[in-house]
Subunit: 188 residues, 2 copies
Amino acid sequence: MVRENKSLFALLGVLSLGPQSGYEIKKLIEQSLAHFWQEGYGQIYPNLKRLVNEGFATVEIQRQDGRPDRKVYTITSKGEERLQQWLIYPIQQLPKEKHEILLKLFFGKNIGLENNLSHVKLHKQRMKQTLDVYRGIETYLKESGCDNLDSQYQLMTVRYGILTAEAVLQWCEETTDSMEKLNSRDEK
Amino acid sequence: MVRENKSLFALLGVLSLGPQSGYEIKKLIEQSLAHFWQEGYGQIYPNLKRLVNEGFATVEIQRQDGRPDRKVYTITSKGEERLQQWLIYPIQQLPKEKHEILLKLFFGKNIGLENNLSHVKLHKQRMKQTLDVYRGIETYLKESGCDNLDSQYQLMTVRYGILTAEAVLQWCEETTDSMEKLNSRDEK
DNA sequence: GGAATCATGTAAGTAGTTACATGATTGA
DNA sequence: TCAATCATGTAACTACTTACATGATTCC
């Protein structure tokens, strides 16, 4: 089976929003896709080169005074077709996830309860912050872009982040309770 | 920053449950850790070798008639110490997730609504099946191991799977609704 | 007869991360 | 003066996936 390079499609997708440089693409991914996708420069620059080689994008070098040159990438119609093809193609698998906290908890018996508890507490704290960020984005998208189709789709991805983050917070509370019960049972 | 090889700790963790062969470790991971962790043979066998080289485990070759030899790995006390050290060490980051479905949805404007809708429907169907599996495991763990500490920790990891899967199903319904509203708005 | 299970492993390729290199400008 | 931002990229390394190789046994 030939593995498709998903980074390539992430880049094509971003370019479908408008011509941009590698640097701008990175920022956009960090700001808008971060909760479900991430790319480093080590992936972005070589893959942009590849997109141009294969005719899915074109480059134009822009001189700037005082600042480094920019290389602005534009999606071609061939690139748009390829993107649409991929967007329509059904997803083959549920994503494979790696959760360090669950790996540690699974083997929790090997260490004291307080140590396990502190992993959960830290996770909860981080999750709360993340949720706040998502809620901010949700509010912004609801206010600004009711009529904008792109905003509607972006809202759906943010809602995913919110609903799952809330579930994780609920799990943190439930798990804290379970651990405290285990603790009081031990003391007897 | 030195990256820690988490596969090594997953293997040490499994070995902390009892001596096992690479083949058995793979099965155990598929059965019990699958929803938050996965390892292929390409990771397992070379890493087991490494564990032995570094004194975290020992090997014993068991001859079997009619069947291939087994290499049974046993965790050493040095390995147990290393595992505990890692188990206690705080997690540095929330996991970075890559959700193909959200990546596709984010760029959903490029294709027709029905195409986006079918991604969500397929996802919902798969998620329902996954949830059923988790609920089965939950029931089993609750019945069998109330007194067993390992079961208690395993239950916490399964609960994570259940709560997040339920949230995702909720999201699927919400998203289906949103899309149908967009559709009827378009028709006007 | 054919598929699945038991059991070990390697090779080759793809993906992803981190650190390094450069250097001007802007803002606190 | 120090950090951040703008802007591009590579090299080295680590992680991960897939396919290949072997071969007996057991179950349908």
